[in-house]
């Protein structure tokens, strides 16, 4: 049939390559898809333009007082003047360096985790440091200690972003071990222990955090013997930790269930006791599987810390709320809330990227 001549390779039609090709393939692959593109595109452009106009083009960025907000746009000057308060709360200005040191160490622990160039061993060491020595160190630095010549700074002046981070960090570090114990308890052979763990987990998962925090702040003094009081921050921490440990327990239970029975039997066959078998064989595998789940729990914990404002602690959001009512400024509520939303978003988004990274790394399936 053919005369042995090979047709020269033709360039692809111009409609399937280049910008036009990309647009056709990705934006208008079908009739329905094309309509969606047009509608969504209109929606985005029409809502984005006024926002950019207000937030950037017509906004005031530089200045020190309400008088510097002259234009129609956003008044970011307000955020600038209150930035210290939003970060440190009432923490005395002369001692800010102590918090800064902790932020620096925190950054040194966290940032390498995002880079694949850093070896797994170093990440591991940093991680272990982060959950053991670091909390103790932070406590000594932020609360202070006579032994090291750091004046005591009571928890009542802690606030702002620092407080938000403290609540989230302590919550997660304390919730993991309790969560592991609860998860093990729920899978225990002892009926009473199992029942207690189930009741505990379902109780804390079933009630809103608001009610728990309210109970911790207002009702806890009623539960304690006369004269014994708890630090307010500690009360909130206990409430948050117990609440999160119930969620953590369910995440970890998922990991435990995913471990094949053979692993349990192998551990027993080696003559390992319950704790040895769990600690050396089962948990390391189970925890590895559920790391993304743990990070997701951390994200929700981080966002949930905003609820401590119902018990009068000055976390980031409360600090914003307390200052936007300053009568010296015009209505700066929108600016304040956008700022808070942005800060929370940055933290949560990086955490969720991190979790997706881990998920990809640990995934060995047949996904396309």
């Amino acid at each position: 049939m053919s005369d042995g001549k090979v047709n020269p390779v033709l360039p692809p039609p111009s409609l399937s390559v280049g910008v036009i090709g990309w647009i056709k393939k990705n934006l208008f692959p079908s009739w329905f898809s094309g309509v969606l593109t047009v509608v969504l595109g209109y929606f985005i452009i029409s809502s984005l333009i006024p926002f950019i106009d207000w937030a950037i083009l017509k906004a005031d960025f530089i200045g020190e007082s309400p008088a510097d907000c002259t234009s129609e746009g956003a008044c970011w000057v307000f955020i600038g003047t209150r930035l210290d308060f939003f970060i440190y709360g009432f923490y005395p200005e002369s001692e800010h360096w102590r918090v800064n040191v902790i932020y620096l160490i925190f950054g040194l622990i966290i940032v390498p985790q995002f880079f694949s160039a850093v070896s797994a061993r170093i990440k591991m060491i940093l991680g272990v440091f982060g959950v053991t020595v670091f909390p103790a160190l932070s406590f000594v630095m932020i609360y202070g200690s006579e032994t090291f010549g750091l004046p005591i700074v009571g928890t009542s002046v802690w606030g702002g972003l620092t407080l938000t981070l403290i609540l989230a960090y302590v919550g997660i570090v304390a919730a993991i071990p309790i969560g592991i114990l609860l998860a093990l308890g729920r899978r225990s052979d002892m009926p009473l222990v199992r029942a207690l763990c189930v009741v505990f987990i379902e109780f804390w998962r079933g009630v809103p955090l608001i009610t728990i925090l309210f109970m911790a702040s207002v009702m806890l003094p009623l539960f304690l013997p006369d004269g014994v009081t708890f630090d307010r921050l500690l009360r909130a921490l206990i409430g948050i930790t117990l609440f999160q440990s119930a969620y953590m327990a369910e995440v970890i239970r998922g990991g435990l269930q995913a471990i094949p029975k053979g692993q349990y039997e192998a551990a027993e066959a080696l003559g390992l006791g319950y704790w040895q078998g769990m600690g050396l064989i089962i948990l390391p595998q189970a925890l590895k599987i559920v790391i993304p789940g743990i990070v997701n729990t951390l994200i929700s914990l981080f966002k949930d810390t905003t609820l401590v404002l119902v018990i009068g602690l000055f976390d980031l959001l409360r600090a914003v709320q307390a200052t936007i009512i300053d009568p010296a400024w015009r209505n700066v509520a929108t600016e304040g809330y956008i700022f808070a939303a942005f800060v929370f978003w940055v933290f949560c988004y990086s955490m969720s990227r991190y979790s997706q990274m881990l998920e990809r790394k640990l995934h060995t399936g047949h996904k396309r």
Binding site: T81, S217, G312, A322, P327
Partner: protein, 341 residues
């Protein structure tokens, strides 16, 4: 001892210090003196009464009242720790000894005075509940508000006063209860409600948050009495006296013309009343467990009542409130302090 062990030990001691700070059986004044500072419960953000400023310092009348107490006890108004409390936890915090004095724009009522185990020491601001209405409605009196939607902040006597007032006048209303004063004004600004009700001292501040403050008017008629003042625990008369007379000293100082600027000159005044106040004659301070120059320290550190008012809520502040009822008795107001003698 290795450094690591040191850290751990320091940590444990500090945690222990955080946990069990029981109410000492000693008198409050002694506890305060031993601690070296007064712990004062304030509101968590109320313009003119207690609010953090740009440098994260507390400012406001309630805050200055606390500072005056610290000045009276220690001669130094900075020897004070503030605890921000919300409406729900304020009384529990005072009862359980978490704070020494509660200065958190708290209305003096019989129930609170009698059945909560608390004692009101006096009034540092006479307030009343008022209404803010959109100017375009042309409403002149709260009696014309039948059927209106009312924006209101949760957790205070304001809610009850409102219900009482509308029921007493046979009117109906929809109450929209918000959690914070900021949300309340935002709701009003967005035209969600016709009326906003709150203590009159707050209404002006809230109105300044509107894009066009002149679009809303404050009704003159008030529907309640709200005497606000510092509160202490029952059963410690010495501390009760200290807090009560700190306030009285500030009022007396204004009456006698003693200000923070002229208090040093006034020390050599011939007026026996001024001498008794500033401790140059007599030992009135000792009677309440303080030093002779207690009132001098208050005026020097915080100022007299008038200065405190002008600085925080007066006409030159964003709140711009007139003295009104909160003027001296001989100046058209109802502030009247018993004499120091």
């Amino acid at each position: 001892m290795s450094n690591k062990v040191k850290v751990v030990v320091a940590g444990i001691t500090a945690v222990a210090a955080m946990v069990a700070t029981g109410v000492a059986s000693a008198s409050t004044l002694e506890t305060v003196k031993q601690r070296g500072s007064v712990i004062c419960g304030v509101s968590d953000g109320l313009p003119g009464f207690s609010m953090p400023d740009e440098r994260a310092n507390w400012t406001g009348i309630d805050v200055d009242t606390c500072r005056a107490i610290a000045a009276a006890v220690f001669g130094d108004p900075t020897k004070i720790q503030f605890r921000s409390l919300n409406a729900r936890e304020r009384f529990t915090a005072l009862q359980s000894g978490e704070v020494d004095v509660l200065s958190r724009n708290t209305t003096w009522t019989l129930t609170r005075d009698a059945s909560l185990g608390l004692n009101f020491t006096g009034v540092n601001y006479y307030d009343g509940q008022g209404f803010m209405v959109r100017a375009s409605l042309g409403v002149k009196s709260p009696k014309e508000l039948d059927g209106a939607t009312v924006c209101i902040q949760a957790g205070t006597t304001t809610e009850l006063n409102l219900a009482d007032y509308f029921r007493a006048n046979g009117m109906s209303y929809d109450a929209l209860v918000f959690d914070t004063s900021d949300q309340t004004i935002q709701g009003f600004a967005a035209n969600r409600c016709d009326v906003l009700t709150s203590d009159i001292s707050q209404l002006a501040a809230l109105r300044s948050k509107l894009d066009d403050p002149s679009s809303a008017v404050l009704l003159e008629e008030l529907i309640s009495k709200e005497p606000l003042g510092p509160v202490v625990r029952q059963g410690d008369d010495q501390w009760f006296n200290v807090v009560k007379w700190t306030l009285k000293a500030q009022i007396n100082a204004e009456e006698l013309g003693v200000t923070s600027a002229n208090v040093d000159e006034m020390k050599s005044s011939e007026n026996p009343e001024v001498q008794r106040l500033l401790g140059t004659s007599g030992d009135f301070g000792q009677h309440i467990g303080l030093s002779a120059d207690w009132a001098y320290n208050i005026v020097k550190g915080v100022g007299n009542y008038g200065e405190m008012f002008e600085r925080n809520v007066g006409p030159d502040t964003p709140l711009g409130l007139p003295r009104g009822m909160n003027n001296l008795w001989n100046n058209g107001g109802i502030l009247y302090a018993p004499p120091i003698r």
